[in-house]
Homo-oligomer: 437 residues x 2
């Protein structure tokens, strides 16, 4: 680290923060990357850890080791508690870090719409811990049902409830989890039990909007729903969940008994906007300028899910959108914004002219709906099924950042695919129920 | 399950319980295996999970899936709270399970010698959770030291303390952990940090007995100590640790500042002896008859670390020991006792004559002291170094029970070996410190 060089502090090691950091390699700057976790997480495949198809280390790489070769970067494991924009200081738990440029890439959480107590009962899939917790919850439900069926022959209602899994939220994560749960219970676990039939498990997917995957074209939403139903998932669209408790949920006023409830509805940005006192949209994202800087702070940038970005876009064929669009909450905008901001900072330090406003290369959307079934919307082309799944798998494996792990993921994936079995099915016995309680 | 057949209840899915269960395959019996965790753990390699060399699922297999093909077995995930020997009932948290035969294979814990509060500060390596916790603690110590070195340039004493790791207990686990910590800090982590040098970490190993590995011949203990010292570990034998707290330890009356303290001293048997009101040795193991039954209960057996077993032994060349020996707390006696008890129950159910008293095939002891250095004591032959390591690796990989995982372990191991790097280095960011606190 060179103390005389301008210092860029990047908060958050997700897609936006990591790509911004990498883009600054070799620049005459000292870069400090701060994250409260020691790893970069490939979130698009986190549901596979929750499902026991991959292990945590296969989709997460230590930030420190990813960035080990980039000499102008230091990594700090800490949590930001606030920002002093006047003195240009980032406040950590017990320390302060000065900055000349600040990049906020602090991401989102699921939105429990004011019911924070639901978070414990119905966890969302955000971190590796959540994935472990959710895998534990799912497997434990089968274990409890088996025990009750073995030792209390009479009580079928209780096992019925334990074998009912509710997913709240019909976005990509809800759809992924629903199909994976269907396949776990229909295939991987099918023959492991003596007293229950995992294939009889009920998997219920609730979405308040009129259709699943609302960010996709209607035709693809319909195909996704149809495919989920063919896997045995019951889909309830236009249905609002108004209560979550130990017994299950209340949906459209009706009580649904369930042993496991998982949450993937709504998004809520990190408190970065409040740290700055900046203008935010209704989900708490900072409304940024066209160069992604925070209004009033030319040296502070917000990217990825921390920012509300409206930008022009082109698709892979170079066709422009007529109107500027709001950036969706997926990896691509975060990556492109991270690179853009890094380039901008670099130009400014080197005394070059500022770049043109950010524009988005819209490569399209992919969603996986089953073991070999996906949706692809490349904007100029839409297709579903195995061909879309091939694209999905290729893109996701390519982007897995921990290079050492890529080979193992492909291997383990291939084996799980061929054998229809899960490799990773252990969960902590005593500890998890306590965590979940 | 056949309700009219005699029911064997086996408590504990470790080596003893699992091999007893498997040995009962095809017998005219209903077998119920109860464990508080859903997995069989290959404990001899658990330290590799703590060190980040393997991931949890590579050394643990779900009991349910290991036993899926054995039709006379059901697996229950629950914790035993007591035993009613009169009514022949095993009490679980909320249920009871009747038995005709009962096999107790409930294992051990480390012994904190009455200081249960030390358990949180100085965790022992017993379960997958412990391995995750310990990996998190170790990596977090390096992270904290890096942050302090980056942001409080003056304070070298604090980083010194954070980079001091104390291991209490010089048995096989303590020796394994010491050598692995030495290699982590000297190799895997050596170049990941900007402000600290992980190679300067202090690794201190304390043993109250006059030498390391007290169950091995003196000559091998001396070689182990010599090899550890060559790796940079400081070994203190004949040194009793009298206090553990947030600042470190007190050893032979002297304060030693350390950021991380790990425990592997002493053993304490599970409460199985108290459930029965049976006669126990000083570490709480049930003193059993020569057929491993519990005195006064011909239908109850204790095996592995639950039992104090004195038996005659033969080595691999068939040479008998002069005197009966007390079974050591390793995998082999547990496995052989499990098989013996299963055979005895089988004979009794089939109306055959009882077998001869249990005798032990003493294959010897192995201990790993470094990445390519081990000790082997085959009783008729003793050797150390790379040749012993080859034996160690072969035996351990062979015995890994989750067959699907074996290939991955070899592969990942091979890669880690060649690259001198750890694959598995992520740890939960916020949650672990809280757990450890």
């Amino acid at each position: 680290m060179n103390a005389t060089q301008p210092r860029v502090v990047i908060v958050g090691g997700g897609f936006g923060g990591l790509f911004a950091t990498r883009e600054l390699a070799g620049a005459p700057l000292s870069v400090t990357l701060i994250d409260k976790r020691n790893y970069h997480l490939f979130r698009p495949m986190l549901y596979q850890v929750a499902a026991g198809l991959l292990s945590a280390d296969q989709i997460a790489g230590p930030l420190r080791s990813i960035l080990k070769g980039q000499k102008n970067v230091e990594v700090l494991l800490d949590e930001v508690s606030g920002i002093d924009t006047e003195k240009r200081l980032v406040h950590l738990k017990e320390h302060v870090v000065p900055y000349d440029f600040l990049v906020l890439a602090t991401g989102i959480q699921y939105n429990y719409f004011g019911h924070e107590d639901w978070r414990r009962t119905a966890p969302g899939l955000e971190s590796l811990d959540d994935a472990d917790l959710i895998r534990g919850k799912i497997l434990l439900a089968f274990e409890r049902a088996e025990e009750i069926a073995a030792l209390e022959q009479a009580d079928t209602e209780k096992t019925r409830q334990l074998l009912t899994f509710v997913l709240v939220g019909g976005g990509t994560v809800g759809v992924e989890m629903a199909s994976t749960l269907a396949e776990m219970s229909r295939m991987a676990l099918a023959h492991d039990f003596r007293h229950i039939d995992p294939r009889s498990a009920g998997i219920l997917l609730y979405e308040a909007a009129p259709r699943l995957l609302p960010t996709f074209p209607e035709m693809l939403s319909a195909k996704a729903q149809h495919h989920l139903e063919s896997l045995g998932v019951k889909v309830y669209t236009g249905t609002r969940v108004s209560k979550v408790d130990a017994a299950g949920i209340v949906a459209n006023g009706e009580r649904v008994l369930a042993g496991t409830v998982l949450w993937s509805a709504g998004v809520l940005a990190s408190p970065a906007g409040r740290w700055l006192g900046a203008a935010m949209d209704k989900s708490g994202k900072i409304i940024v300028n066209s160069d992604l800087s925070v209004p009033g702070h030319a040296e502070i940038f917000a990217i990825g899910d921390t920012a509300h970005v409206v930008a022009r876009a082109r698709n892979l064929l170079g066709m422009k959108t007529k109107e500027p669009m709001v950036m969706p909450g997926v990896a691509q905008p975060a990556i492109q914004e991270g690179k853009y901001v890094a380039g901008l900072i670099r130009r400014r330090v080197e005394g070059q002219r500022p770049p043109a406003p950010f524009w988005y290369l819209d490569k399209g959307d992919l969603a996986i709906v089953g073991r070999t079934y996906a949706l692809a919307d490349l904007r100029f082309l839409r297709f579903t099924g195995f061909s879309a799944w091939i694209i999905w798998a290729a893109v996701h494996i390519y982007f897995l950042i921990g290079f050492a792990n890529r080979f193992f993921v492909i291997l383990q994936w291939g084996i799980a695919f061929l054998t229809k079995r899960r490799q990773v099915r252990v969960f902590p016995g005593e500890e998890n129920p306590a965590k979940a309680a």
